[in-house]
């Protein structure tokens, strides 16, 4: 189709035709709008040449006057005028895209923004990007972050929910359990229909429905000394919601060796505790708890019960810590242990110091030879034996 603009006849093409040509290559794509429009959303490889600067800037953007040159704007008017001007300047093979980027997007064709976010993402995360502490740069950090959740249960469920909503780009989930009806009082990402399904799969379905930006990686199984370095090595931050001491000590020792920050929380009854362990910047889990308690002082939630909303409170506090670590904003709970008691609604903060004698991150820890790295003690024995006769 052709339309008149001034005395010139210019070629107009539909978005799908433009898309085919662009995919075929050898096309110069010119965006004839203003910079703020371009920043919001533009076609991939589109070069910005605002209408008022056309004569000055087109030579830089499209130096070859014989090359196929497609112009677009918001709705097709400005690009038609610009196409006519280019023809007057001697460009030989110019087309204007009918309907502009609006028509392009209506047909479901992709756009990008100079910020690295799509228009859909700019909308989805607008309440984040409005915050100076987050902004577009911070949201991009979240979209590029890789966070591993140890446990897709009481703590992992609310943590995963908010990290997925926040647009954390990769969420790994480690869990070997299946959804049980008794989980649903607190594990809010699972549901009645998914009873019997592996928790990692149920979590993935929930997260994918909430936010398609999130890539969910299922690690269906348990962390052990043989797989932990490989699994956590791929992630920036680990969130510890493990239900047992052997896994907590194993994770600590491995994360210190790989220098991965760990956001660690635990819940029981109406009580929760949370801290953030950043290796060599603050204490590690062993500095706080050098030895695990004996079994009678280490009851589990299944044996003792837990208020469902407690898991939500502590899990969302974990998500908050993760987001601060990713953004580099605020003051994470490094060297601080926060206790929450739900019946009295009280928060208590305790100081946690690095232990110079810590076998994992203490003064002598740097001397552990490379060959010993990744060799872990038998944590089940270590935990079972601790607190016995001493």
């Amino acid at each position: 189709m052709a339309t008149g603009a001034g005395t010139q006849t210019i070629e107009e093409i539909e978005p799908f035709e433009a898309a085919e040509e662009i995919e075929g290559g050898d096309v110069v794509l010119i965006d004839t709008r203003e910079p703020h429009e371009f920043q919001d959303a533009h076609l991939e490889n589109g070069k910005l040449v605002p209408p008022g600067l056309l004569a000055d800037e087109i030579g830089g953007a499209a130096p070859d006057k014989s090359a196929r040159t497609i112009l677009y704007c918001r709705s097709g008017n400005r690009s038609a005028i610009a196409a006519a001007q280019l023809q007057e300047l001697g460009y030989e093979d110019v087309a204007s895209m009918a309907g502009g980027i609006l028509a392009w997007q209506e047909q479901g064709l992709p756009v990008v923004s100079t910020s690295g976010m799509t228009a859909e993402q700019r909308d989805r995360y607008s309440r984040h990007t409005l915050l100076p502490e987050v902004g577009v740069d911070g949201q991009l950090k979240l979209l590029n972050a890789k966070v591993l959740l140890l446990g897709a249960g009481g703590l992992g469920a609310p943590t995963a929910l908010y990290l997925a909503a926040a647009g954390v780009g990769t969420l790994g989930l480690v869990d070997d359990d299946v959804v049980d009806a008794s989980n649903l009082q607190r594990q809010v990402i699972h549901n009645t229909e998914r009873i019997g399904m592996p928790k990692t799969e149920s979590a993935r379905l929930f997260i994918e429905a909430l936010n398609p930006d999130v890539n969910v990686v299922e690690h269906r199984g348990r962390l052990d000394a043989g797989n932990i370095l490989e699994i956590i090595g791929d992630y920036d931050i680990v969130v510890d919601g493990a239900d047992n001491f052997p896994t907590r000590y194993l994770l600590n020792d491995a994360s210190v060796r790989l220098r991965k920050p760990v956001v660690s929380a635990s819940i029981l009854g109406f009580d929760g505790q949370i801290s953030t362990f950043v290796p060599f910047e603050g204490p590690c889990y062993r500095c706080l708890y050098p030895t695990p308690p004996p079994a009678e002082l280490a009851p589990s939630c299944s044996a003792n019960g837990v208020l469902g909303v407690m898991a939500g409170t502590m899990g969302t506090l974990q998500a908050n810590e993760v987001i601060k670590l990713v953004l580099g904003a605020g003051e994470p709970l490094v060297g601080r242990l926060l206790l929450y008691e739900a019946l009295g609604t009280t928060f208590t903060e305790l100081k946690v110091r690095r232990d110079p004698e810590c076998p994992i991150c203490g003064e002598n820890a740097e001397e552990i030879p490379e060959s010993e790295m990744g060799r872990f003690p038998d944590y089940d024995l270590f935990c079972a034996g601790a607190g016995g006769d001493r």
Partner: protein, 92 residues
């Protein structure tokens, strides 16, 4: 008198109380007075050698007594002594 905060796992030994008042000029005296009032807490707090069990953290207000003077750390009226064992609940 100091206020001693009792962790959930010890509350069955203190008639369910989350906080107990106990007298004493230092942390050790406060804890021993606690064990006299609630004898079942003794074995959980102290080993046979009379030292605190290693898996029990004790804080005076917000500071770990390990970096203060341990059980000899002086306690004033109105201070809070926090007893804190590790907890592992989370996923299951």
């Amino acid at each position: 008198m100091a206020t001693v905060r009792i962790p959930p796992v010890l509350r069955p030994k203190t008639d369910g109380k989350p906080e107990v008042e106990a007298a004493g000029g230092n942390v050790g005296e406060v804890l021993r007075n606690l064990t006299e009032s609630y004898p079942d807490t003794q074995a959980q707090l102290f080993g046979e050698d009379g030292d605190l069990n290693r898996y029990v953290n004790v804080y005076l207000n917000d500071e770990d007594v390990r970096v203060l003077d341990g059980l000899d750390t002086a306690v004033k009226d109105g201070d809070t002594v926090v007893i804190l064992p590790a907890m592992a609940g989370g996923a299951s």
